[in-house]
């Protein structure tokens, strides 16, 4: 009896230790970024493009990288959604949920989910060479799309799997066609789709490896998809590689900007998720 109680206490203590450790790591990361980045974070940093000597400690900002990242992720999410949603609808509602084909597709996406982002970068680069593309916003969009399609597909698939047979049949009973039924289902799983989009954005916007070869880097804001685009992860990477301390601190400021964007997206995911589930109750 005493042993059992002791065992319970030890396991409980381990659980608390693990949870607190994770929380501490998050807080420490935030502390480093804020303490080092905040002093260097100026209005110029978010409102100006880098001037000639920005990476040597002179004037300018990283507006190009902020906008580049936002354009890149917007394009990638749009492309990924156009691919992921039809796949999910097909394997769940047109084919049988647990058919061999559907399971093979799911398994493929599970494997793709685990592939490191640098591999997607290299694969995207190969595609670019094949089509004669240079490092550009479009190249970056393609590579990041490859990275987030598995994430988006599996997240939406989780929600789609929870749609009951009754819900699938409800519109059919009224005489709806398959397509009309699918429209109702999409409405039913829309909170899950929102979550999937925001998850993918969080993952895609912060990834450096995929854009390293594909999107290139530039000091200006791209005005066409064929132009190279700067991105926040690479802006951090390049600044952090500098031997000049001031420039290194700016890297932390850029990291802070990226973190704020990601945190904003996370909070909005939770906010929208809660709002949508409230309307479901």
């Amino acid at each position: 009896m005493i042993m059992k109680k002791l065992e319970e206490k030890i396991v409980k203590a381990l659980m608390i230790f693990a949870s607190v450790t994770i929380l501490m790591v998050l807080l420490y990361i935030l502390y480093i970024i804020i303490s080092k980045g905040l002093p260097s974070l100026t209005w110029d940093m978010v409102s100006k493009n880098p001037s000639g000597g920005f990476y040597l400690g002179k004037e300018g900002g990283i507006l190009n990288a902020i906008l580049g990242s936002l354009m890149l992720i917007a394009g990638s999410v749009a492309i990924s959604m156009c691919i992921s949603l039809p796949i999910v609808l097909y394997i769940n509602f047109i084919r049988k949920k647990d058919s061999r084909f559907s399971n093979v597709v799911r398994f493929s996406f599970d494997i793709l989910f685990g592939i490191p982002s640098i591999v997607y970068g290299a694969f995207g680069f190969m595609i670019m060479i094949y089509f004669g593309l240079q490092a550009s916003l479009l190249g970056g969009i393609i590579a990041v799309s490859l990275l987030i399609i598995p994430i988006m597909t599996r997240s939406i698939d989780e929600v789609a799997g929870s749609v009951t047979q009754d819900m699938i049949e409800a519109p059919k009973i009224l005489g709806a066609t398959k397509f009309e039924t699918v429209k109702v289902i999409v409405r039913q799983i829309s909170p899950g789709i929102t979550t999937a989009i925001l998850l993918s954005v969080g993952r895609g916007i912060g990834d450096a490896a995929t854009v390293l070869f594909t999107a290139g880097y530039t000091d200006s804001i791209p005005v066409s998809p064929m132009q190279p685009a700067a991105t926040l992860p690479l802006a951090i990477f390049f600044q952090l590689s500098s031997p000049i301390e001031e420039v290194q601190n700016r890297a932390y400021a850029a990291a802070l900007i990226l973190t704020i964007i990601i945190l904003l997206l996370s909070f909005s995911t939770r906010y929208f998720g809660r709002k949508m589930s409230k309307s479901k109750l």
């Binding site: 009224l174 709806a176 109702v184």
Partner: protein, 274 residues
């Protein structure tokens, strides 16, 4: 169980039950209906005539094929390639499984109320308006009239008229079931099918839905699958008793309940098995 099943085979007296209700006009006719699911023979040579504007209750123990039979009426098995349906089902003179017949056309004729209410992910108003809009009714005034009329018909109008735009999922389960009924009625079906439609409701909500069925039989032919014998006794005009995929007995409710012709029906009504 085996002995009971043998009993049916031995007693080949199914045919007389089919014509047990000659006083009423037939609305739906089932002839030699056989259903195989994953190769298993689920419905065996079912013959049945559903009378017009009456309540017909299908009773029987779990797994006897009641729901399978009901789902054949509006071709809900169509999407499952593992379900094989043979035989004839006619609504009026129209063959439900006819090669030229559109499934959506058949489903429009049969409003099905499922066991658990499933409201569509939209407002109360849009739930009822969904069907009419599907069939091309776009004028707002017209749609509003239909919604109001059907919500009144199911006694929900007074309860929801001030929150028609709020999500339907916020209604209580009983209200949701009545909303589903209103939604089904909005496409103007000829028949109402209920698959244990009150089993997930509390007694009060269940009584309300039962009362609605009784009220509606003046306009619609109603077929209800029910597990509750008391419910069948309360509202049924006709009763069909099924056992192990076969139709054992069919006739006027008072005859089946008071003077069952088949030993199995008697045993079921006595509670010897359920």
């Amino acid at each position: 169980m085996r002995a009971l099943s043998k009993d049916i085979v031995m007693n080949d007296t199914l045919t007389p039950f089919i014509d047990a209700h000659k006083t009423n006009k037939t609305h739906l006719t089932v002839e030699n209906l056989n259903v195989h699911i994953y190769g298993k023979h689920i419905l065996k040579k079912v013959n049945l005539s559903i009378p017009e504007k009456q309540i017909t209750c299908i009773i029987g123990p779990s797994g006897c094929g009641k729901t399978t039979l009901l789902r054949c009426f509006n071709r809900l098995h169509d999407d499952n390639s593992e379900v094989k349906v043979t035989g004839n089902i006619r609504i009026g003179n129209e063959d439900i499984y006819g090669s030229h017949v559109e499934v959506t056309h058949i489903r429009k004729k049969m409003g099905l109320l499922a066991q658990r209410p499933t409201v569509l992910p939209m407002s109360i108003y849009d739930n009822v308006a969904y069907g009419p809009r599907l069939y091309g009714i776009k004028r707002r005034r017209k749609v509003y009239e239909i919604v109001k009329h059907q919500l009144m018909a199911v006694g929900l109008w007074e309860e929801v008229k001030d929150r028609l735009k709020s999500p339907a999922v916020r209604l209580s389960i009983g209200q949701q079931q009545r909303l589903c009924l209103a939604r089904g009625l909005a496409v103007e079906p000829e028949m109402i099918l209920g698959d244990e439609a009150t089993s997930s409701l509390d007694p009060l909500a269940s009584t309300k839905v039962e009362e609605l069925f009784v009220k509606m039989k003046d306009t619609y032919s109603i077929v209800l699958v029910t597990h509750t014998l008391r419910q069948a006794k309360r509202i049924a005009d006709y009763v069909a008793f099924m056992y192990l995929g076969e139709l054992v007995e069919f006739g006027r409710a008072e005859e089946v309940f008071n003077n069952p012709k088949h030993k199995l029906t008697q045993q079921y009504l006595d509670g010897s098995f359920s």
